[in-house]
């Protein structure tokens, strides 16, 4: 097996995540799909790190994880706040910037 198979797998995972973002309505599931896309990119970075023979890809994947963690915290807080005001977690209901 060629190590580039990991790249193809991560491309498929990324596609699944992107389609999920477009298809799903529940804001939390949409958020999980974004996480899946980030994970797919991380797999790409780790694989390229191995193909290149340097560790920079792993460092970048590490930073992606840090940013993803911060993003999840803020994003979930936003979802909770929207749910408090609108009693709904659907992305279609939050179509106004106020109220």
């Amino acid at each position: 097996m060629n190590p580039s198979n990991y790249l193809l797998l991560s491309a498929l995972l990324f596609t699944v995540g992107a389609v999920g973002v477009l298809v799903r309505r529940n804001a939390i599931v949409v958020f999980m799909c974004v996480e899946l896309m980030l994970n797919a990119v991380n797999l790409t970075l780790v694989t390229f790190s191995r193909i290149r023979g340097t560790l920079d890809g792993q460092i970048i994947a590490f930073f992606v994880m840090v940013v993803a963690a911060a993003e999840v915290v803020v994003g979930l807080a936003i979802i909770v706040t929207i749910f408090r005001t609108r009693q709904s977690a659907s992305v279609d209901d939050a179509n106004l910037l106020k109220y």
């Binding site: 097996m1 995540g17 298809v23 799909c33 996480e35 797999l43 023979g53 560790l55 936003i78 909770v80």
Partner: protein, 258 residues
């Protein structure tokens, strides 16, 4: 797994991984992909979260296989341990039965999205697969010679130290931002004394009438009603003139609502 077995040999570039790695890939890869698809498909958001956990575990295994044990551990601890638990917490906070609305705001969006996804996957996989199918991998055995964590730490605190410092600012801002967003200022509850003062100064110093009493007035100038609902003449006060004080007796609103 397979690559580290040949770590005594000097790190030679390779185009084919070991058989063990291939077996692990062809078992875990379809599992990861199927779990990702099930995450998108499943109706319940909790099920979606659990399928995503399975995908992330498979990815952590891939990190271990690909000579990135540090990232594999971080993946398990941070992603499946912290982030997914946070997701489940928020799911419980928001309500598990927050059902998906099937109304399409944009007509045909789902079909278009799925078709675009298939096209995107084809565009990504086939040309890219043909382009990189004979990749020569350098391997990480000599880079990881002193240990993966040590090598990553060396890079992180030399070349990437500025990004690392900025990351700390990002984390603090994220934590403060989450607190500001999710915190709700709760109004202080009134004490018992404040409640009693408000009641004495309000419109009803005495307790309100108990339930079941339908009379709108309890003063003496309210006429009594006969069983058929008409006014009992005997109960009307004759002392003030009718045109002066407006003592024309008004009927209670719900006559007969006994």
């Amino acid at each position: 797994m397979g690559v580290s077995a040949s770590s005594t040999v000097l790190a030679a570039a390779f185009t084919q991984t070991s058989n063990g790695e291939a077996v692990a890939f062809w078992i875990l890869g379809p599992i990861a992909l199927a779990a990702a698809l099930l995450m998108v498909i499943s109706k319940s958001a909790v099920h979606s979260a659990l399928w995503l956990v399975l995908t992330m575990f498979c990815l952590a295994a891939f990190y271990f296989i690909q000579d990135a044990p540090f990232l594999g551990v971080v993946q398990i601890i941070v992603y499946t341990g912290a982030i997914m638990v946070l997701f489940l917490f928020v799911l419980m906070l928001v309500g598990v039965d927050s059902s998906e609305s099937l109304v399409e705001t944009l007509r045909g969006q789902r079909v278009t999205a799925i078709l675009l996804g298939i096209g995107f996957a084809g565009l990504l996989v086939f040309p890219l697969g043909a382009a990189v199918s004979h990749t020569t991998a350098q391997g990480l055995t000599d880079v990881n010679a002193e240990g993966n964590v040590q090598a990553i730490a060396r890079l992180l605190f030399t070349n990437y130290v500025w990004a690392f410092e900025v990351t700390s600012a990002l984390l603090i801002v994220a934590a403060v931002g989450a607190m500001v967003l999710a915190h709700r200022e709760r109004a202080a509850r009134p004490t018992q004394r404040e409640l009693s003062i408000a009641r004495i100064r309000g419109a009803h110093p005495s307790p309100l009438p108990g339930p079941g009493i339908v009379a709108h007035h309890d003063s003496v100038d309210t006429p009594a009603l006969l069983p058929d609902g008409s006014i009992a003449e005997l109960s009307l006060s004759r002392t003030p003139p009718a045109d002066e004080g407006g003592t024309t007796p008004e009927l209670p609103q719900n006559v007969g609502g006994r």
